[in-house]
């Protein structure tokens, strides 16, 4: 404020940007801003269509809150992909869906058949998920397999084991069916009467996972190392970072998160299904889509937790609105179209941003 007068003289080569171009610049370079704008646009569009009577059902805050149940597995797996993709060198994990299937079956056996306690079964799920992730990590980090190939191979192997482990049969004994109660919606304390009820899984699984991943990435030495090896392998090695160990841990963490998603899915379906992570297009594709949409660079070293959550919200609320707006049972098909178009659009925008502004944050 004090230097208003000399400022133009000091920087004559840079004329002050107009408000419009600054907004465009912010939208293009700040992925968070872009996602918020898109999110508002999607919600506003469906609200207006609701008011105008174009929707077959109400698109209100209750409906939006109930649809958040789909957010839990998506965001958690996208966080797993965030860790792996940020680790660089073509990092990607195609096997997360298969880990969900296999861990879900092991969890189902332990809790539903062998009569283990819930906590012990969850710890087992975490352990199995971590072990399966460690196999991925060992192949990629220590043996030097390209991540795409290693996780393609384990996608086949884990998926096959998940089907064979219980002779292709799902497990839905009494204790498993009772787990469905954890998938219910709850009223928030204090402010609950004014807000719609929110699915319990958001608080028990998704938010804790997001906070832990955020702390790991943004507040620990390990997180800085992960960004370092993702940005440049060799430079990180010269900075005395144990590249192999750091990269391996990213895959182990992704496996652990997938193990937790297995518990969520078993509870949501009230049944441990051998094809839980493989239904439809599989769980890996939407998770990678959300990660890319959330601004994670596929080349590694760039990506934030906030982007993942906003990207997940965008996809879930878009998906929730589409069946209301489209007559008949064409809804799921248009969800595919929306997912594809949004992903291609986000990727092309990333390319444009890179050329015009030298990268986004």
């Amino acid at each position: 404020m004090t230097t208003t007068a000399p400022a133009p003289a000091a920087a004559p080569a840079q004329p002050a940007e107009s408000v419009g171009s600054r907004i465009i610049r912010a939208i293009l370079t700040q992925r968070i801003v872009l996602l918020i704008v898109l999110l508002l646009a999607v919600v506003a569009t469906f609200f207006l269509m609701d008011v105008g009577g174009y929707l077959t059902g109400p698109y209100d805050s209750d409906y939006m809150a109930a649809s958040l149940i789909n957010l839990v597995p998506l965001v958690m797996l996208a966080l797993a992909e965030l860790l792996v993709i940020v680790s660089g060198r073509g990092g990607i994990d195609l096997s997360v869906g298969a880990i969900v299937s296999l861990t879900g079956m092991v969890f189902g056996l332990a809790y539903g058949e062998w009569g283990w306690s819930l906590w012990l079964s969850i710890i087992l799920a975490i352990g199995v998920g971590g072990l399966l992730g460690a196999i991925n990590g060992f192949l990629v980090a220590y043996l030097g397999f390209p991540a795409l190939i290693a996780t393609l191979a384990t996608y086949y192997a884990y998926g096959s084991l998940a089907i064979v482990i219980n002779n292709q049969k799902p497990i839905s004994t009494k204790p498993i069916q009772d787990l469905y109660s954890t998938a219910r919606t709850v009223e928030l304390p204090l402010v609950g009467e004014y807000l719609p009820n929110i699915p319990l899984g958001i608080f028990t699984f998704m938010i804790p996972t997001a906070i832990v991943v955020w702390v790991i990435l943004a507040r620990t030495t390990y997180g800085r190392r992960l960004y370092a090896i993702g940005t440049h392998d060799t430079a990180a090695k010269f900075a005395a970072i144990d590249v192999k160990d750091t990269r391996m841990k990213a895959y182990v963490l992704a496996g652990i998160i997938s193990g937790l998603v297995a518990v969520v899915t078993v509870a949501q379906f009230a049944s441990a299904r051998p094809d839980a992570g493989a239904s439809g297009n599989g769980m890996a594709l939407p998770a990678i889509t959300i990660a890319v949409l959330g601004g994670v660079a596929i080349t590694g070293g760039i990506g934030r937790v906030a982007g993942i959550i906003l990207g997940g919200l965008l996809i879930v609320w878009l998906n929730a609105g589409i069946p209301l707006a489209i007559e008949g049972n064409n809804g799921p098909q248009y969800q595919l179209l929306a997912l594809g178009v949004v992903l291609v659009f986000a990727a092309l925008l990333n390319g444009l941003t890179n050329r015009k502004y030298g990268g986004s944050k």
Binding site: F145, P146, T154, I298, L348
Partner: protein, 340 residues
């Protein structure tokens, strides 16, 4: 890093094998190993189940290899350029449903229907190619996106039901007696011819070598005068076209009904065949011959698992293990080569 070597007069004392050939040998080590593995597997299966080495089992196996291998020919080119295409399941579905609906609705001859399938495939491949080459975005992201869009297109054309009572126009590619000449399945023969043409094109023409140059270093290739974007686009169009042909084979091998899940999971099976065949996912290295052998191996495993009376889902476990072994062997050889 070793100390800088001094160029002395005694350099010629140790005869060093000259490694300055531009072309790799016609059959690489990986391919020899694959041939060995396939021979061993066939021998084991022949001992384990007497039914394996009969024409009733081998001929369907060869016919069944054709769709994966023929699509693998295109995928090999893409992966050599350093790209990847995970949308071919969606492409296959669109090609199959358009082909099937055309056959049900109109009297069409065989060449016309095959041309329609190839044309549709090439058009879809061109969409991928334009976005990847000119949008300058990583191939895996774009093809994940277009995979969803193609799936949408396919389901829309399906009209949420199966296509029934498909005429037997395509039975010349099938596993039945109409699909063979002198005992050789037509689909397999066509695949071998196409693979041979592509093998020669990639190895012995300037245009073919350009794909390797792009995969090795796209920037260097551009400076050397390769039209990188056009070549990249061509790789995806080729793949689209062979996926169209693969769709014809897949319909012919099935029943008179095409279901919505046609093609599901095929993208990973094709990538598995290419990778087992020794093509490097990082680009710049690979051959069509390896891909054909890789597809043969995958098909042998799934046939073998079924004939041994095991759960058919177990075959995926073996496919996974074979990917790890094949790529692991390649990694070890690469390291040995770097030490030489």
């Amino acid at each position: 890093m070793s100390a800088p070597t001094t160029l002395g007069p005694d350099l010629g004392a140790k005869p060093v094998k000259v490694r300055n050939r531009v072309l790799s040998p016609p059959v690489s080590g990986q391919e020899l190993v694959l041939i060995g593995v396939i021979v061993v597997l066939w021998a084991i299966l022949a001992f384990a189940t007497p039914a394996f080495l009969t024409s009733g089992s081998i001929l369907p196996l060869l016919a069944g290899v054709a769709p994966i291998a023929v699509m693998g020919i295109g995928m090999t080119v893409i992966i050599i350029t350093g790209g990847i295409d995970v949308s071919i399941a969606g492409m296959l579905m669109v090609c199959a449903v358009i082909t099937a609906k055309t056959m049900v609705g109109y009297e069409v001859s065989l060449p016309v229907i095959v041309l329609i399938a190839i044309g549709v495939g090439a058009a879809l491949g061109a969409i991928n190619g334009v976005l990847i080459a000119y949008g300058r975005v990583h191939a895996i992201i774009i093809t994940f996106g277009t995979a969803n869009v193609f799936q949408f297109l396919g389901l829309q054309i399906f009209g949420s039901s199966t296509v029934n009572n498909i005429p037997r126009t395509l039975s010349v590619f099938g596993a039945g007696p109409a699909g063979r000449t002198w005992g050789i399945p037509h689909g397999f023969a066509i695949m071998v011819v196409l693979a041979a043409i592509m093998w020669w094109y990639l190895r012995h023409t300037a245009g073919g070598r350009h794909f390797y140059a792009i995969g090795g270093d796209a920037h260097a290739a551009r400076l050397a005068g390769v039209r990188v974007q056009r070549r990249t686009l061509l790789a995806y169009v080729i793949t689209g076209a062979v996926v169209g042909l693969g769709a014809c084979f897949t319909i012919a091998l099935g029943t008179a009904t095409v279901q919505q899940n046609i093609g599901s999971g095929r993208e990973l099976a094709v990538i598995a065949a290419v990778v087992i065949g020794g093509t490097s996912i990082m680009g710049g290295r690979g051959s069509v011959l390896g891909t054909v052998l890789g597809a043969l191996l995958v098909q042998t495993v799934s046939t073998g698992v079924t004939q041994l009376g095991w759960q058919s889902q177990l075959s995926n476990l073996f496919v996974g293990v074979f990917i790890v072994i094949a790529v692991g062997a390649d990694l070890i050889r690469q390291r040995a080569r770097r030490k030489v």
